[in-house]
C-alpha cells in the first residue's frame, strides 16, 4: 500500500494499515549494550532463547552476530521477485551463552578464576568489539545496533512454506506464529540479516517482536511505550514511530531529507529500520596533522548502506554547517531532540 499526499509517496507493504519504523543515529551509539540487555531481560533470558540477541550491537567493520552474517545470503534477487538462497549460520557462530563458575568460587571455595565453564569460549556475539579496521592512528570502527528490520518485503515471510511468519495488518510488525511454526528454519536462512532464531528447546523459530505488547499499551504502568531497546538507550539514539506518519521525524528523515538509509538495501527486503550513517574525525598524517581524508572509507559505508549513503552524508554535513552558522536546521533538530513525544510517536494513528 502507499499513501500519497502532495505528490509524496510512502511505500509500505500491501495489506498493512501502517508500518512501524525506527531510525537509529549511529553517531550516538557508544556500544554500551544497554539495548541488548534490555531486550534480553525482557524476551530472551531463558526457555531456549539464551543464545539469541533479538537486539545486538556489533562493531563495524567486523564479523557481527552471528559471525559473518553478511556472507550467508538470503533476501531477494535483483528484480526482487525470487528469493536468493541463504545458509543457516553454524550454532557456534552465534556464540554460546556461557555459564560461569560463580557458585564454585563464591560458596565452594574454588581457587579457579571465574571463567565460562566447559572451556568453550572462542567466540561470542561481540568477540571482535572495537577491533574495526585500519592502522593507528587512522584506525576506525563504529557500532551498529541491529534488530529485526520488520521489512516491507520480508524474505523470511516468503521463505516459510507454512506461512507461519506474517506481517501484522495493523502495523507491519513481522511475527512468527508459534502454533504454525514447525521449526523448519527456512526463515532463519531466508533472512539476509539473520534476525530470525531457532529455539531448539521449543523447536520453533523466534524473533524480535518490536516489543508489540509495549506499543499496544501493555508495558509497565499500562502506558504505550516504545520498544525497550529504544527507551533504555542511554544516548537515546533511536526514533520510533510509523513510516507513514507524515508529521513524524521518521518520514521526514527517511523520505523527505533522505538522511536515514537502509542497511544493505541490495538485499531488497526493504527494511524499516533506518540508520543515520556515522561520521568520524578525519585521518591524521604521519606528522600528526589533521587531513581532509575520510577516516571511515566511503566505499565501506557504501558497502553497508548502498549509494544513498553519499547524499545522506552530504546533506547532514550541510545541515550541520547551517547550525554552525547559527541557522535553523530541521534535520539537526530532529536528530538532537530530547523531547520523547517527538522521539516516540506511537499513538498517532490511535482512534481519537
Amino acid at each position: 500500500m502507499s499513501t500519497s499526499d502532495g505528490g509524496e509517496t510512502i511505500d509500505i507493504a500491501d495489506d498493512v494499515d501502517h508500518q512501524v519504523a525506527m531510525v537509529m543515529d549511529l553517531n550516538k551509539c557508544i556500544g554500551c549494550q544497554t539495548c541488548t540487555i534490555a531486550c534480553k531481560t525482557n524476551w530472551t533470558d531463558g526457555g531456549g532463547r539464551e543464545y539469541m540477541y533479538w537486539n545486538n550491537v556489533e562493531t563495524k567493520p567486523g564479523a557481527g552476530y552471528p559471525r559473518d552474517w553478511e556472507e550467508l545470503g538470503g533476501g531477494w534477487d535483483e528484480e526482487g521477485d525470487e528469493r536468493t538462497p541463504g545458509d543457516l549460520p553454524a550454532q557456534e557462530d552465534y556464540g554460546a551463552p556461557w555459564d560461569f563458575n560463580h557458585e564454585q568460587i563464591m560458596y565452594e571455595g574454588s581457587d579457579e578464576p571465574l571463567r565460562p565453564m566447559d572451556n568453550a569460549a572462542d567466540w561470542s556475539p561481540n568477540w571482535d568489539e572495537d577491533e574495526g579496521a585500519g592502522e593507528y592512528p587512522n584506525s576506525y570502527y563504529f557500532y551498529l545496533p541491529r534488530i529485526c528490520n520488520h521489512c516491507t518485503h520480508p524474505s523470511c515471510v516468503e521463505a516459510c512454506p507454512r506461512s507461519a511468519l506474517y506481517k501484522r495488518e495493523e502495523d507491519g510488525i513481522v511475527l512468527v506464529d508459534q502454533d504454525r511454526c514447525r521449526g523448519y528454519r527456512y526463515c532463519v536462512e531466508g533472512c539476509p540479516y539473520k534476525k530470525v532464531y531457532y529455539n531448539a528447546m521449543k523447536k520453533t523459530s523466534e524473533k524480535c517482536i518490536f516489543c508489540y505488547p509495549r506499543i499496544e499499551g501493555e508495558g509497565p504502568d499500562g502506558e504505550v511505550r516504545a520498544p525497550a531497546c529504544a527507551e533504555d538507550c542511554p544516548p537515546q539514539l533511536r526514533l520510533v514511530g510509523y513510516l507513514d506518519d507524515e508529521e513524524g521525524p521518521i518520514h521526514k528523515l527517511v523520505n523527505e531529507y533522505e538522511v536515514a538509509v537502509r542497511l544493505h538495501p541490495e538485499y531488497r527486503t526493504e527494511p524499516n529500520v533506518y540508520y543515520i550513517p556515522p561520521f568520524a574525525p578525519p585521518q591524521h598524517a604521519a606528522d600528526g596533522e589533521t587531513t581532509d581524508e575520510d577516516r571511515i572509507p566511503r566505499e565501506y559505508l557504501e558497502e553497508l548502506f548502498g549509494p544513498a549513503v553519499n547524499d545522506a552524508l552530504e546533506t547532514i554535513e550541510r545541515e550541520r554547517e547551517k547550525v554552525n552558522r547559527g541557522e535553523d536546521s530541521e534535520v539537526m533538530e530532529m536528530l538532537t531532540t530530547t523531547d520523547t513525544s517527538d522521539q516516540y510517536r506511537l499513538e498517532v494513528f490511535d482512534e481519537a
Binding site: I30, G31, C32, Q33, T36, I37, K40, G95, P97, W98, D99, F100, H102, I105, M106, D111, E112, P113, L114, R115, P116, A121, D122, S124, P125, N126, W127, E129, D130, E131, G132, A133, G134, E135, Y136, P137, S139, Y141, H284, A285, D287, G288, E289, T290
Partner: protein, 650 residues
C-alpha cells in the same frame, strides 16, 4: 595551545586583569607573591596586609589587589569584590622598593609567558604526536568561539602529575574567558558524587565534624609505603601529616604513637579490589586487621576477603536520594522490590548494629561513656541506638528509625530543598512524584539557579565579582607554596612521568581506563555482560606489539613488571597506540588465576603536592575535604612487558 593563544594575542585581556592572578607581582628573589605588607606606601585596608597582593596600575603605581584573602573575611566573603577601579598592567618586569630593600619583581603573566615559550609547535609535536598546525588550529578555534567549553573525564587524573595536567587544561578556559557564563567552563566528569544537600547530609551523618580521611593517604600510610618510598617523598608525606594538613586515623596518641587500624567496615565500595597497589594492601594492611566487615549487595572481591558480609539492599530495594554534579535535580530511589533474602538497607544495617551494641551494653550495665578523643562529645554505648535514631535538631526520639525518614531529614535540613524563610520545601514525596530541581542554592554553590537554564558554575565570581575562594581571590595559576616552588610547579608546567619501572625492561605503557559497562567493579562479573565480551579479563594490544611478541588475538598472555604478574587474554586493538598495554579496569580478583588483578602491577604512589595546605598556616585556599582536595590514587605511569603464556620453552 595556551602558547598559541597568548602569542597570537587571542586571550581575553579584560578577563585576565579582573579575574586572574596574571597581573599580580612575584618577587624574583623568593618566588613568593609580593605582599602589600612588604611595600611601604601601598594603600591597603585589610586586617592582614601580609595576605594582600600587589599589582601595578597603568601608570606604574603599585596597588593592593582587591579580593585578596587578607582583605576578606575567610575563604568565602560575599561582601568583598574583585572589581577594579584601576587598569592593572599584565606585563610587568621591574624593581620595587620593599621593606627588604629593592626587589626585582615580575607579574605572573610575564612568568607564564616565559613558561609557555618552551612549548614550541615542534616541542608539542614531539611530545604529543599532535601536528604542529593542528594543535594551533584547535587553539585558535577555541579562543575565537563565542562560547567554549572543555569536557574531560578521569583520564588525566590517573597520572602522577594530574594536578599539573588539570591546571594546564583549566588555563585554556581562563585565557579565553570561557568561564562563568552558560555554555562555558571546564567540565571534569569524575564520578557523580555531588551532595548538593550538603548541610542536611552532614547534619544527619554526624553531630560533630566527621573523621574523613583521604583514602589514598590512609592506605599509603598503613601499607607502610613510607618505609620504602624515596627520601624526599617520605619527608613530605610525614610533614603533611605532622603539620595536620592531611588527617590520618587512628589519631596519634599523646605519647606520639599511632596504633594500627584493627577493624575495617567496607561500605559502598570494593576496597580490596580497587585500591591501587593491592599487593601491599593484601600483604601489609590486611594482616593488621582483626575484623573486616563488608556491607555489600554483591559478592565481590572484598566480600570474599572479609570476615563478615552483611548483605545490603541494592538501589532498587530501598529509599534513598540521588544527586549528581551533572544536573541540579534531586531524584529518589524507591523500592521496586523488597530486599532479597536476608539483605537489609544500609540504614537498617547500621541501625541494627547500634541496637545490638546498646542491648549488650545495657546487659553488662558497667559500660562507661567514652570521651571522644578529638571532639567535644561522649559516646554512650548504653544509648547508642537511641542516639542513632534521634532527630539531632528537634530532639524528637526515634524519628530516624527508617531510611525514608533519614532522606526526609536531609531534605528538611538543607537550604537547597528547604530554603530558609520560604515555604518552598521539597519533601521525599515530591521527588517520587517527579524529580525536583533544587529550590535554592547553598553556600557551596558558585552561581544562582536560573529558571529554564542548566546550572553553570562560577557566575558569582565572573559576573558578580565576588572574590574567588583562593588565596589571591582570583583564578590562581601561580601557587607560591614552598613545596610548589621547590618542585618548580608554581605554574602549570610539563613534566615527564616519574620513573617507576625501567623503560628498557618494561617497554609498554600500562593503563587501566574506565570500563564501558561496569561501574568500577560493579557488574564487572555480570554473566550477561561477560557473554558479550570474552568472559574473562583481556588486555588490548596494538597489532604491531603483538606481532613483535608472537602474540595472537585470543592468546593467554602474562603482563608483568617488577611488582607482579597477571595472566589475561590478549585482544587485538588496532586503535591502541603502539607501545601501550591497556586493560579496562575493575576486573575482580577472582577473575584472575592466582587472584592478582589489574592493580597488582600498580604501586601505591602519590604526589606530595596534593597533601598541602595553602596558605601553609591557615589553609583557606587548599585544605583537605573529601572529593575536593586531597591526594588522588594514580596508576598510569606504570610500565610493563607482555609475553605469551605457553610459548616456546615453556
Amino acid at each position: 595551545m595556551a602558547r598559541t593563544i597568548v602569542d597570537e594575542g587571542r586571550y581575553d585581556e579584560a578577563h585576565l586583569k579582573e579575574q586572574t592572578d596574571m597581573p599580580l607581582l612575584v618577587r624574583e628573589d623568593t618566588g613568593k607573591f609580593l605582599r602589600a605588607s612588604e611595600v611601604p606606601g601601598v594603600n591597603v585596608n585589610a586586617d592582614r596586609p601580609d595576605h594582600v597582593f600587589v599589582m601595578a596600575d597603568a601608570d606604574g603605581g603599585l596597588r593592593a589587589a582587591p579580593g585578596s584573602l587578607g582583605a576578606r573575611d575567610g575563604q568565602h566573603d560575599e561582601t568583598a569584590s574583585i572589581e577594579l577601579d584601576f587598569d592593572p598592567q599584565l606585563a610587568v618586569d621591574r624593581t620595587v622598593s620593599t621593606t627588604d630593600g629593592s626587589v626585582a619583581v615580575r607579574s605572573v603573566w610575564n612568568r607564564l609567558r616565559e613558561e609557555l615559550a618552551t612549548y614550541t609547535p615542534e616541542f608539542v609535536n614531539e611530545e604529543t604526536g599532535v601536528g604542529r598546525e593542528t594543535h594551533q588550529e584547535i587553539a585558535r578555534e577555541f579562543a575565537e568561539a563565542d562560547r567554549g567549553k572543555i569536557i574531560h573525564g578521569k583520564g588525566v587524573n590517573d597520572w602522577y602529575h594530574n594536578d599539573l595536567g588539570n591546571r594546564a587544561i583549566q588555563l585554556l578556559v581562563t585565557l579565553t574567558g570561557h568561564i562563568g557564563r552558560q555554555g562555558t567552563g571546564l567540565d571534569h566528569y569524575v564520578g557523580q558524587e555531588k551532595i548538593w544537600t550538603y548541610e542536611g547530609w552532614s547534619s544527619l551523618n554526624a553531630p560533630v565534624p566527621s573523621r574523613s580521611v583521604p583514602t589514598t593517604l590512609w592506605t599509603y600510610y598503613h601499607c607502610d609505603v613510607l618505609d620504602n618510598a624515596d627520601a624526599e617523598t617520605t619527608r613530605r608525606v610525614r610533614e603533611a601529616i605532622d603539620e595536620d594538613w592531611m588527617p590520618v586515623y587512628p589519631a596519634e596518641r599523646e605519647d606520639g604513637s599511632r596504633p594500627d587500624p584493627r577493624i575495617m567496615f567496607i561500605w559502598r565500595g570494593n576496597y580490596f579490589n580497587q585500591a591501587k597497589g593491592n599487593v601491599a594492601v593484601e600483604e601489609q594492611l590486611w594482616p593488621k586487621l582483626d575484623l573486616v566487615v563488608d556491607v555489600n549487595f554483591r559478592m565481590d572481591s572484598s566480600a570474599l576477603y572479609a570476615d563478615i558480609v552483611l548483605p545490603s539492599a541494592s538501589h532498587y530495594e530501598k529509599h534513598d536520594l540521588s544527586m549528581t554534579d551533572m544536573h541540579s535535580y534531586v531524584h529518589p530511589f524507591t523500592p521496586a522490590v523488597e530486599p532479597l533474602g536476608e539483605s537489609k538497607t544500609d540504614w537498617q544495617i547500621f541501625r541494627e548494629l547500634a541496637a545490638k551494641i546498646q542491648e549488650l551494653a545495657r546487659e553488662r550495665d558497667d559500660v562507661e561513656p567514652v570521651q571522644d578523643r578529638e571532639f567535644d562529645r561522649e559516646i554512650d554505648l548504653e544509648s547508642i541506638h537511641e542516639d542513632f535514631v534521634r532527630d539531632w535538631e528537634s530532639g524528637e526520639e526515634g524519628r530516624l528509625a527508617d531510611d525514608r525518614e533519614a532522606c526526609e531529614y536531609i531534605l528538611e535540613h538543607s537550604a537547597e530543598t528547604n530554603p530558609p524563610e520560604s515555604d518552598e520545601q521539597i519533601t521525599f514525596e515530591d521527588t517520587v512524584e517527579q524529580p525536583q530541581r533544587m529550590r535554592a542554592v547553598g553556600d557551596h554553590w558558585t552561581s544562582d539557579l536560573e529558571e529554564g537554564e542548566p546550572y553553570t558554575p562560577w557566575k558569582r565570581y565572573v559576573q558578580e565579582k565576588n572574590p574567588w575562594p583562593t588565596f589571591t581571590g582570583r583564578q590562581q595559576y601561580y601557587v607560591d607554596h614552598d613545596w610548589f616552588l621547590e618542585l618548580g610547579e608554581e605554574l602549570p608546567t610539563h613534566k615527564e612521568p616519574p620513573t617507576l619501572q625501567d623503560k628498557a625492561e618494561y617497554p609498554l605503557n600500562y593503563n587501566t581506563p574506565h570500563g564501558r559497562w561496569s561501574i568500577h567493579s560493579t557488574w564487572r562479573d555480570s554473566e550477561k555482560m561477560l557473554r558479550l565480551q570474552r568472559g574473562e579479563p583481556v588486555v588490548h594490544l596494538n597489532p604491531d606489539d603483538m606481532e613483535e611478541r608472537g602474540i595472537e588475538d585470543g592468546d593467554t598472555v602474562r603482563i608483568y613488571n617488577d611488582l607482579g604478574s597477571v595472566e589475561v587474554q590478549a585482544k587485538r586493538y588496532p586503535s591502541g597506540e603502539p607501545g601501550t598495554a591497556r586493560m579496562y579496569f575493575a576486573w575482580e580478583r577472582f577473575q584472575f588465576p592466582d587472584r592478582g588483578n589489574f592493580n597488582s602491577l600498580v604501586p601505591l604512589y602519590m604526589k606530595p603536592t596534593q597533601l598541602v595546605q595553602y596558605p601553609e598556616d591557615t589553609g583557606e585556599h587548599l585544605y583537605f575535604r573529601p572529593n575536593y582536595w586531597g591526594p588522588t590514587g594514580v596508576n598510569s605511569d606504570v610500565r610493563v612487558e607482555v609475553e605469551r603464556v605457553g610459548g616456546e620453552g615453556e
